[in-house]
Symmetry: C2
Subunit: 358 residues, 2 copies
């Protein structure tokens, strides 16, 4: 007999991207930053003594929240630290959605959203993107008509890399009756020439929750550190009720704080990645592969029926290059390529060339 609840017994878990343990693999499948974190993070790590680990960490990651608040021009009370960005999503569903409520998302997007809604035991409404993976014109009205308790949009979009206008988030937050979550896991890679900053909208909208993470922009996927940003009334129940009391550990608090203190260093990696993004997009186009203009650290590329996207995924893997292929209708003819180092991108293109036009 199974002891799981009926709901849990029914569902499938989330399947994360492959994490090969060996070296020698060019890993362009889970959107990690190809460059390591800053020297200050390294120094901070080297200075930690095990004596410091004997005690419980700050339950609310005080130092980190003060630093993050300064960077975003908000107050520490607007922040909740989380064990990776994924935890913020789970906390939001636990806090704001009941089992008889609905969560609204667009499809395709981050494949964890439906899994979390299933785990919560609530209803899920998926609004499909158009065939070219742009949002439908009447998206705001469609989303508002669903009476959902939470709507989650990823911005820049995954897997296309498209950026939502701040004015769109503003409008949707004003019209939407529930909590609007904007998952900005990849926001660090947005071109600074766009002067893009959606965070100040939390002062206007009490229902707006942003997700940020240090996994990608700060090269710390192994550390598990993310945070939520919103009005204090929205943040407080997650901070003081639904979060596990000590959800972020001492080492990760220290290193995440050091990463923010040396944001300028991280920005140099973002610049390199943006440069590589232009080169990679051009190379893909030259191979005749349609690709989506990305403000993120990955590029979605469409593969012609011959040789086929799944086939290309496998052939690249045989060449020791991992990219991501999603076996869902709207993405089955595409692959998502994380932007790697210059050398990695070159090897990818050279391998792709052999596969696509041998």
């Amino acid at each position: 007999m199974s002891y799981e609840t009926d709901n849990i017994a029914r569902i499938q878990g989330y399947v994360p991207g492959e994490q090969p343990s060996g070296s020698g693999v060019i890993k362009l499948n889970t959107n990690e930053n190809p460059y390591p974190a800053s020297p200050l993070v390294a120094e901070t790590l080297a200075k930690i003594q095990i004596e410091e680990l004997r005690r419980y960490p700050s339950a609310t990651a005080r130092e980190f929240c003060h630093l993050a608040a300064e960077i975003h021009g908000i107050n520490p009370e607007n922040l909740v630290p989380t064990n990776g960005g994924d935890e913020l999503l789970r906390l939001a569903l636990t806090t704001f959605v009941g089992e008889s409520d609905t969560v609204a998302i667009t499809t395709p997007s981050y494949s964890l959203y439906p899994v979390l809604a299933n785990l919560r035991g609530c209803s899920l409404h998926e609004v499909p993107l158009q065939k070219d993976l742009t949002y439908p014109e009447n998206l705001i009205e469609t989303l508002c008509n669903l009476s959902a308790k939470i709507c989650i949009l990823v911005n820049p979009h995954a897997p296309t890399g498209a950026l939502l206008p701040v004015s769109f988030i503003d409008s949707l937050a004003r019209k939407f009756k529930g909590v609007l979550i904007i998952d900005e896991a990849y926001a660090d890679f947005v071109d600074p020439d766009l002067s893009y900053d959606s965070i100040p909208l939390i002062r206007k909208h009490k229902n707006l929750l942003f997700l940020r993470t240090l996994s990608k922009g700060y090269s710390l996927a192994g550390l598990r550190f993310g945070y939520g940003i919103g009005d204090h009334e929205l943040i407080a129940p997650m901070l003081f009720k639904t979060r596990d009391s000590y959800n972020t550990d001492y080492v990760s608090q220290k290193l995440a704080s050091a990463a923010l203190k040396s944001k300028n260093y991280a920005m140099t990696t973002w610049k390199k990645i943006r440069g590589s993004r232009i080169v990679l997009a051009e190379s893909l186009s030259q191979l005749g592969l349609k690709n989506w203009p990305s403000q993120s650290n990955f590029i979605l590329a469409q593969i012609p029926q011959e040789p086929g996207a799944k086939n290309v995924y496998h052939k690249l893997k045989a060449d020791n290059i991992l990219v991501r292929h999603f076996d869902v209708e709207s993405l089955s003819d595409k692959i998502r390529i994380t932007i790697g180092s210059e050398g990695e991108n070159k090897q990818l293109i050279s391998s792709l060339k052999k596969i696509i036009a041998p």
Copy 2:
């Protein structure tokens, strides 16, 4: 307006013990180990490079689970790694309890249990201990008659430190229809002369889930690393469905593994603490303070109405010594004292002497 669900809006969060940031405080309030982790943990920490943090960690903490399995004489499939022991409790409630179900606990015990049941939105049935804080004679029958989906017992008991006979756990697991969680956060401090080991019971009972943590025994409260042990059918849904995919980070996996590899070192700290436990208990008795025989790293002491437990807590605090006072009926006349280093225990006793018999 609040966006919280009605259930979340209604409840209070868990209030963890005080974590003063300054030094100079003798901290005997949250059951931390007074001695640091092993030299191997320090070496392992010193060797970690930030380049290793760029990528996602092992989602299932493979190395750690293999080591822990070896220590307990079980299989890696019997283990789920968690972000502190608290996460295991939350996962168990998410996985095995629905909103219309009941969780059974005894009272007093770890004050997080009722908070987690409230968060899950399920019913809670609390079976009171007897006035002397021993379990009632008919406990197994009482618990089995509740039709609870989960029963949680802490062993050694918190805050008394009393150990459950293995035969008791065996009987209860056999008769109880739901999942029996034995929270062994403090099991490392049990006297080895007792040859106590309840873990092999998982081979007999498919409904038995043990909680273990590295916070106390391995001096790593700051690291947040715990694990669950049980039949694979019980472990699998938590491992593959309800757990956040990357719930433990790279650094904590590495250090937790090093801690297990150097278990012999940790055992030397357990021995010192057991020695101090005898001395501290005697000193408390000499002060005329009734205390409970403890197999844990804390001692519960009863304080006469004059000067009163809460008053003693405050006076110790004024002396820069933190102990724990729980403002609930069965414990309001007691304080819980974490066993510190020899010097810390001496200062506590000397301060207590001034307060109790000035």
